[in-house]
Amino acid sequence: MFQDRKNLLYYLGLFSPLIFLVLLILVFSLLHPRFLHPLNIFNVMRQISITGLIALGMTFVIIVRGIDLSVGSLLALCGLVGAVIAKGGLVERFSVGVNTELTNPWYWALAGSILIGLVAGSVNGLCITKLKVPAFVVTLGGLSAYRGAALIVSDGGPISGFNEAYRWIGQGKIGMVPIPVIIFLVFIVLCHIILNYTLYGRYIYSVGGNPEAARLSGINTDLIITSTYVITGFFVGLSSFILSARLNSAEAVAGLGYELTVIAAVVVGGTSLFGGTGNILGTIIGAMLFGVLQNGLVLLNVSSYVQQIIIGTILILAVAFDRFGKSARSV
C-alpha cells in the first residue's frame, strides 16, 4: 500500500516543475495580452539559450554530486579570449562599426573560446578528483581566478565591434527562430540522448547514485566526474561566444551571477543536489521557468530588485521540496 504512495510522490516530484511552469504561463498570459505573442516567446527563448546551454553541462555535474560555481567567471574569460583572437590583439578593441574588419574569422574565435572552456573544465575536474578538494571549494576558487584572468586578458575594458558574420551567431534568425535558440535546441537533443540512451549516460547516473557501487562494478569514477566539468567548460565556451556575438562586445564583467541562474535552473528542474537524479528536460523546464518569470515580471513592470528576491526564494523552495521528497521516500 505505502509502496504506491512512494511511487506517487516520485511521479509528483517528477512533474511538479512542469505544472508550475504551465501555471506561470497561464497567469502571465491572462495578465498581459502581449505575453503569448510569438515575438515575445522567441525573445524569452533567446534569453534562456545562453544560460540554458551552460545549464545542460551543469546537469551532468550535479547528477554526479558536483557543483560548478566558476561558470560565470569562466564565461567572461572565454568570451574575451575569443574576442582577442578575432581582433588579433587589444589594439583594435573599440572599433565599433557596422562593417568592422576582423583579423581572424569568427570560427577561430569560437574555437579559442571553447578551447579555454575545455582546459578550465579539465583543471576543475582534476583538482576535484586527484587533489580531492571538494567541488564547492575548487570552483569557488575558479570563480575568483577566472574572473581575474578575464580582467588581465582584457586589461579591464570591453572589446567591442565585430563583423556581420560574427554577430549573426548571436543576433541572426532563420525564419522567426533566433540562431542561439537553434543551437540550444540541437544541444538539448544531443545531451538528452547522451544522458538517457548511452553507456556514458548510464555511468553518470551510477556514479551519482552510489559511487562505491559504481567503483565496485569497475567504472572509472574519477574519469566520469572529471568529464562532467569538461562538458560544462565546453558549454561555457560556446555560450560565451554567443553572448559576445549578441552584444557585439566581450567584457570582463560578463556572466556576473550566472552561476546562480544556471544552478537554479538545474535544481528547480528536478536535478537533486544529492546526486543521482535529474534530466535534461527538467533542466530546460527549470531554465524556462526562470526565463518566463523574468520576462513576465518585466512586462508587468515589477522592479528588477524584487525579481532577484523572487528568484532566490524559488531556488530555496525547490531544494526544500527536494529534501521533503527525499525524507518521504526513506520512510
Binding site: T198, R202, A213, A214, I219, G276
Partner: protein, 245 residues
C-alpha cells in the same frame, strides 16, 4: 560414497591488527549446494574471516583454495573474478537506477554507443523469474523497492555473473518477518544453483532454519563446526558464550 568436493577451503588462517590476534588458526570449508552459518559474538572474528575471503582484508598467513586450487585474493575485484560474491544490505546497488540498470552495471549490453535497455530488462527479468523473485515494477529506481527485493536483485546479478560462492552478511538484519521468510526461500533457491553460501548472522533462528552446518567462532578461534541437525539451539548458544556445550 561420493568424494566431498569443496569449492572453498580456508586453512590455518591467521590475522592480527596491531598486535591483537583477530583470527588464530581458523579453518573452514564450503561445499556446493551447501549453506554454512558463521556465528559468534561481536569481535569473535566473523567479519574478519569473511572480509579476507571477499578481498577487503589480506590474511597474515594460511591458505585459501578455490576448487582445490590455491589462490591469492588481492582485492574485492579479484574476489569477484574468482566467483566470490558478497551481498551487502545496500552497498551493492545504485538506488537511483532501475532493476535492469543495476543488474548489468559495469557490464552493459549495447549496440555501439547505445544501451540496449529492452534486451537488458528482458534478461534481468528472466534470471529473476527463474529465482521466483517477483518485482512489481522494473521501471522505478530500486530505492522504491523493499530491502528484500534489493537483496534479491544483487543475488540475481551475482548468479548471472556466474558466482560460485555467496557471502551473505546479516541478510535479514533490517528486514521484517515476511521479508525474512522470502530471503529464506531465496537461499533455498540459491542452493539448487550449484553454489555455496556463507551466512553470517546474529539470529540463531535464521542460522538453524537456513544452514546445513554451523561454524562457531569465539575470540578469534574456531570452537566447532557442527551439522545443524545434530545440535540444539541451546548447545550452539552455549558454544557461542562459553566455548563448550
Amino acid at each position: 560414497m561420493e568424494q566431498p568436493h569443496y569449492i572453498i577451503e580456508m586453512n590455518h588462517i591467521y590475522k592480527s591488527f596491531s598486535g591483537v590476534e583477530a583470527l588464530k588458526d581458523v579453518s573452514i570449508n564450503l561445499k556446493k549446494n551447501e549453506v554454512v552459518g558463521i556465528v559468534g559474538h561481536n569481535g569473535a572474528g566473523k567479519s574478519t574471516l569473511i572480509k579476507i575471503l571477499s578481498g577487503a582484508l589480506r590474511k597474515d598467513s594460511g591458505e585459501i583454495l578455490i576448487e582445490e586450487k590455491k589462490v591469492d585474493i588481492s582485492g574485492p575485484k579479484a574476489a569477484r573474478k574468482m566467483g566470490i560474491e558478497t551481498i551487502y544490505q545496500d552497498l551493492a546497488l545504485s538506488g537511483n537506477l532501475d532493476v535492469a540498470a543495476n543488474f548489468f552495471l559495469g557490464n552493459e549490453k549495447r549496440r555501439f554507443f547505445f544501451l540496449q535497455n529492452r534486451l537488458m530488462k528482458e534478461e534481468a527479468k528472466k534470471v529473476l523469474d527463474e529465482l521466483k523473485i517477483k518485482i512489481q515494477s522494473y521501471s522505478v529506481p530500486v530505492d522504491f523497492l523493499s530491502g528484500g527485493q534489493r537483496q534479491a536483485i544483487a543475488i540475481g546479478r551475482a548468479i548471472y555473473n556466474k558466482a560460485k560462492v555467496f557471502i551473505m552478511d546479516e541478510p535479514t538484519a533490517a528486514l521484517g518477518i515476511e521479508e525474512t521468510k522470502r530471503v529464506g526461500d531465496l537461499i533455498n533457491q540459491l542452493k539448487k544453483q550449484d553454489v555455496g553460501i556463507f551466512l553470517i548472522s546474529h539470529d540463531i533462528h535464521d542460522v538453524f532454519d537456513f544452514c546445513d552446518r554451523i561454524a562457531v567462532l569465539k575470540n578469534g578461534e574456531m570452537v566447532d563446526i557442527l551439522n545443524s541437525d545434530e545440535v540444539t539451539k541451546d548447545e550452539v548458544v552455549s558454544l557461542i558464550i562459553k566455548g563448550t556445550r
